[in-house]
């Protein structure tokens, strides 16, 4: 089953989160949006124009939950272009290498360039990494493109791939966004935060800003997000953005603070039925009879 959707409904950040947590391998294809006259309905029943995939605009490859390669538009990611963009080759050199090096794989080409002292191995790795990241950060601004994740597909073995941890990419996308990402599911500020089951594993390779570390240092089931914001001197918008990124990077999880286990029901005029009501009021035997009946239905 291919993972299909539109960035309007499922953002790049959410896709990266999914790939990171599920440790997926595959190639994400992102297409030019073609708005049709056909209408579809969203989950609230609202009508909207159906958007169909046009020409492919970008691809992003992943292996075992890590980002490994990206291409965009006519930037095909040829090693000569990558090194030129990184300032390791000039236009002239890049063109010559592209023309003469057609029959070589990127890997063979890299070896030749390294041997000829045009670049070091570290230059090659760094340049590819930066090239890949630039494309993904660019992509993160797209908001209405159709996408498909072709699971288990892999880029050509001729290409050099550099594995990049997605947590850091997700955090950086969050830092680059100003204001609220449209349509993101904003965390309720009355919720508390907790660490995932395996925080050590998840935090090991992540780089956080001072501001983000400060938020992380206040994580405690007794602190609501609102309280953390206050303690860190952050506005609601600021804390939301940081928490959203931390959530999507899988570094924190939402939980209900202990005081509001029974939800506050201010909207219902203070009348609090559910708080007084035990979760289940029927007898065990009733549930068992229901089970028996449904089994034989």
């Amino acid at each position: 089953m291919p993972l299909k959707g539109n960035l309007a409904d499922f953002s790049i950040t959410q896709i990266l989160n999914l790939i990171n947590l599920a440790k997926k391998t595959g190639i994400l294809h992102v297409y030019e949006p073609i708005v049709t006259d056909e209408t579809i309905r969203d989950g609230t029943g609202q009508e909207r124009k159906k958007v169909m995939p046009g020409e492919e605009r970008a691809t992003v490859a992943f292996r075992d939950g890590k980002l490994i390669l990206a291409t965009m538009g006519n930037q095909d990611g040829h090693l000569a272009n990558v090194l030129q963009k990184a300032g390791k080759l000039n236009i002239q050199q890049a063109r010559v290498i592209r023309e003469r090096g057609k029959k070589y794989s990127d890997k063979a080409l890299a070896l030749m360039l390294i041997n000829a002292n045009y670049a070091t191995q570290q230059d090659v790795v760094r340049s590819i990494k930066q090239y890949t990241l630039d494309i993904v950060y660019d992509l993160a601004n797209w908001e209405q493109e159709p996408f498909v994740l072709d699971e288990n597909a892999a880029p050509s073995p001729a290409r050099i791939t550099v594995p990049i941890d997605l947590q850091n990419v997700i955090m950086e996308i969050g830092r680059r966004k100003d204001g609220d990402e449209p349509g993101i599911e904003l965390p309720n500020l009355d919720m508390a935060l907790k660490f995932p089951e395996d925080p050590g594993e998840k935090f090991r390779r992540v780089h956080l800003s001072v501001e983000e570390w400060r938020v992380v240092s206040f994580i405690n089931p007794n602190n609501s997000i609102r309280q953390i914001a206050k303690a860190c001197n952050m506005t609601e918008t600021e804390i939301r953005r940081v928490v959203y990124s931390l959530l999507n990077a899988g570094l924190v999880e939402l939980m209900k603070p202990p005081t509001s286990k029974q939800p506050a029901r201010a909207a219902a005029g203070g009348k609090s039925r559910s708080a007084a009501q035990p979760p289940i009021t029927v007898k065990r035997s009733v549930v068992e009879r229901l089970i028996a009946k449904i089994k034989e239905t």
């Binding site: 089953m1 609230t44 559910s274 979760p279 289940i280 009733v286 549930v287 009879r289 229901l290 239905t297």
Partner: protein, 180 residues
């Protein structure tokens, strides 16, 4: 002994498969659908509040025990009905159309809303698993941020066995909740 009735609520976004789910298991015909109502009220400009219809199914266990299944009206403008339906429910099912990512955000929002109404057990049904574009249940879990402790079940609402499985899993969760 007086007859006892218990209620379960089937909720989820517009077109997630709530009506189909109830239809597959109910012993009575599920006659009303919200689509019909909204079309009528839009056309004739009738007062929507007076004519909210919802899906309604029944499973009779025996002379003194009946289970009612209520589908929530899918459109947000009827959500004042949700709280009324939620009152006293034994549990609820959140249906998600696995092939329509444009409805995931609303699914999550409905889930949170219902969870706030009552602390009853619930399960999430990853419906339309027979659809070629359906997202796999484990991907939906991440996409909707459903905790590991909540059951997320593959579902095909048109298939009675699949519907039975979802209801049974919800009932098992209710039993477990009683044990704690």
């Amino acid at each position: 002994m007086p007859m006892q009735t218990v209620k379960m609520v089937i909720t989820g976004p517009f077109s997630a498969g709530k009506t189909e789910f109830i239809r597959s298991i109910s012993e009575i015909d599920v006659v009303t659908t919200d689509e019909g109502i909204s079309a009528v009220s839009a056309e004739y400009g009738t007062k929507e509040a007076t004519t909210v219809a919802m899906d309604f199914g029944r499973i009779t266990v025996d002379d003194d025990l009946v289970l009612y299944l209520f589908g929530t009206p899918g459109q947000r403008r009827f959500d004042f009905m949700w709280e009324i339906l939620a009152e006293g429910m034994l549990g609820f099912v959140v249906m998600v159309d696995s092939a329509k990512p444009e409805t995931f955000r609303e699914a999550k929002s409905i889930l949170e809303t219902f969870r706030a109404y009552a602390p009853t057990p619930y399960v999430v049904a990853a419906n339309k698993q027979d659809h070629p574009d359906a997202w796999a249940p484990e991907d939906l879990r991440i996409a909707l941020r459903i905790e590991e402790s909540v059951k997320l079940l593959p579902c095909i609402a048109t298939d009675k066995e699949s519907v039975k499985n979802v209801l049974l899993e919800l009932l098992y969760s209710i039993l477990e909740e009683m044990d704690t």
